[in-house]
Symmetry: C2
Subunit: 326 residues, 2 copies
């Protein structure tokens, strides 16, 4: 027990990765995807928020009683539990102006979007460029839009949506323009952008969107995806003609390869400050009870493919916390 | 006739792209690959070195009689000709210590390798990292190794080769280590590198080498390819688990999309100085006469797949110029 802390879990959220791991989608993949932390089962749940119960000898920044939040790790058990062991370098203090369940909706999607935009695609603050985010109202898309608009201050943040609710939600979440997923080249051409579309962030169906992303991407532009794909349709497209960069973002890379683990704690600390200042809004929209049935319902909600923002689960009465965003 | 110059061609070289365009490999590709500059035929030949005959009104830096070299462009006719029209922004003065035929071997491979390492993968000078170059003795590989070692000053430059001649040549060209193409993961593990293998440059058979490149690449590493591929084998590999960046490099992107065209001229001017100072060696190894038969022979040489360094073609007696490198 060195740099670890035990949390009493107050709230968690369900992410598509939980559903995929439960459904054994990656069973024939390398170790990463099938690691079982020291037992013959794995407790699911990445995102968590809770209260520190105990800390290891090396932990200086946190003590018993602190209210914290974290994104979890592929090498430890998850947050769908009463108690959870976490790496103390990867946690941060909970924003004071959010409930536990709102807080638990943020970490995984925020870190993923932040790493994608800032570390993988290396978008610069104030760059005169546009970003296109595929699936603007999803968990990741709705924080990515806020990072692009309010942290990186890009002048143009285009997201894709297909319903009135998701269009409205995505605009509240920072989109300056929305287009329909199915009409991407045409609707983007119509926008007649004054800045080049240099960055494209795929958070849905990589194989479907890679060819259109290539079409609308500026020469030397970058496409980042967070969604595994069997097909990778690039041959015969302009991907090479434009010298395009394609980059994978996976939240688990740092904890799995044990590099730069403390950056997750730092990102969440920065996020705490942004939320407390009102720069970033929480994308929590719905609360389930943190019970076996609540988990099943939340998994079904994510599996439906129509979830907006994030669904949280709380140990307390949802009615007391579940202040939906909209 | 604005920023253009007409050159009397003294020497050129044959690159694999000339062979591919001649063989109509990309006939069903987007415009880029099948552009025919204003006629119903295309004169082949990217690389050229020659003497300026005339310049357009806007040209300030060059005048008739200047000895220059250039990489050509997909939107103009090529260098397999007596006279050639080139964009004056993309040319530079010929190094004084090389013959025309030696000079004509440099531009395309140099610009490609430079863009790949410096612009696409953004390797930093003096970085404590290793690079792996697939096909170390090829035209591009043998200048890429020099850029990596002598310009970017990386401590470890590993190239792949499969014959004694190519191994020796690649070491003369800057490789600190060579491994066999066919034993990449095992031989690289054996090197027990003290720095992370962060950069991999594929200059042969992208589909074959992508999976092994992924295996040996450090987390968050970058793989750059210059070779079109139908298959893109990434699913089920660690490419996403390691959050790897894949980036295409194509020399033609700038002239085709008309962005940053002057950078080619600047790179060749920098190269002239490096060659004159003896930092960079020319990778020319063999000379053919610049005649219809000489061109056919040089195409056959490139098609054989066993060419070492670069083959040049000269209007003068090869014996007078063709000082092979080794
Ligand atoms: N690599 C990583 O580290 C990482 C991290 C987090 C998430 N992920 C992955 O990223 C993906 C997105 O996760 P998420 O939580 O943001 O998603 P999500 O919240 O489940 O996304 C739901 C939204 O998807 C949209 N959608 C449905 N079908 C679509 C289609 N064909 N094209 C585009 N959008 C469509 C819907 O919006 P409309 O109603 O407007 O169509 C819906 O509101 C998942 O595959 C997840 O596993 C990866
Ligand atoms: N995207 C761009 O802008 C751009 C620019 C330049 C070139 N290119 C492309 O880059 C590729 C390389 O061009 P180049 O001129 O450097 O090549 P090259 O000079 O024709 O390469 C010849 C060398 O390839 C090696 N080789 C043969 N089979 C191999 C294999 N299976 N695996 C690895 N190496 C093998 C041989 O070395 P051993 O005998 O040691 O095996 C041989 O000496 C071509 O496909 C070309 O079209 C693209």
């Amino acid at each position: 027990m060195k740099a670890v802390a035990v949390e009493s879990v107050k709230a968690c959220s369900v992410n598509p990765i939980d559903v995929k791991v439960r459904a054994k989608v990656y069973d024939d993949f390398p170790d990463y995807y099938n690691y079982v932390p020291g037992d013959d089962y794995q407790i699911l749940g990445y995102d968590g928020a809770g209260v520190v119960e105990a800390v290891g000898d090396d932990v200086k920044d946190f003590k018993s009683g602190d209210e914290v939040y974290y994104a979890g790790s592929p090498i430890r058990h998850g947050s769908n539990a009463e108690l959870q062991l976490v790496d103390s370098l990867s946690i941060a203090r909970k924003p004071t102006n959010l409930s536990f369940v709102q807080t638990a909706c943020l970490p995984l999607t925020w870190i993923t979007a932040y790493e994608a935009l800032v570390e993988r695609m290396q978008v610069k603050v104030g760059e005169q460029a546009a970003v296109l985010i595929i699936n603007g109202a999803g968990g990741v898309g709705s924080v990515a839009s806020q990072i692009a608009r309010h942290v990186l201050k890009l002048p143009v943040v285009i997201t894709t949506t297909s319903r009135q609710e998701t269009t409205d939600f995505s605009k509240q979440m920072g989109a300056t323009h929305t287009v329909n997923h199915r009409e991407i080249p045409a609707q983007i051409v119509k926008l007649d952008l004054a800045v080049p579309l240099k960055y494209i962030f795929l958070t849905h169906s990589t194989a479907n969107y890679l060819p259109v992303a290539t079409k609308v991407c500026a020469p030397f532009g970058k496409i980042c995806s967070i969604v595994q794909t069997k097909d990778f349709p690039q041959y015969g497209t302009e991907m090479m003609a434009k010298s395009i960069t394609f980059v994978w973002e996976l939240l688990g890379t740092k904890p799995w390869y044990k590099t730069d683990v403390e950056s997750h704690g730092k990102m969440l600390e920065e996020l705490r400050q942004l939320v407390e200042k009102g720069v970033v809004k929480c994308h929590h929209t719905q609360t389930f009870p943190l019970t076996a049935k609540g988990l099943r319902d939340a998994h079904e909600m994510v599996e439906s493919g129509g979830s907006i923002g994030k669904n949280g689960l709380s140990v307390d009465d949802p009615a007391a916390h579940g202040q939906a965003f909209a």
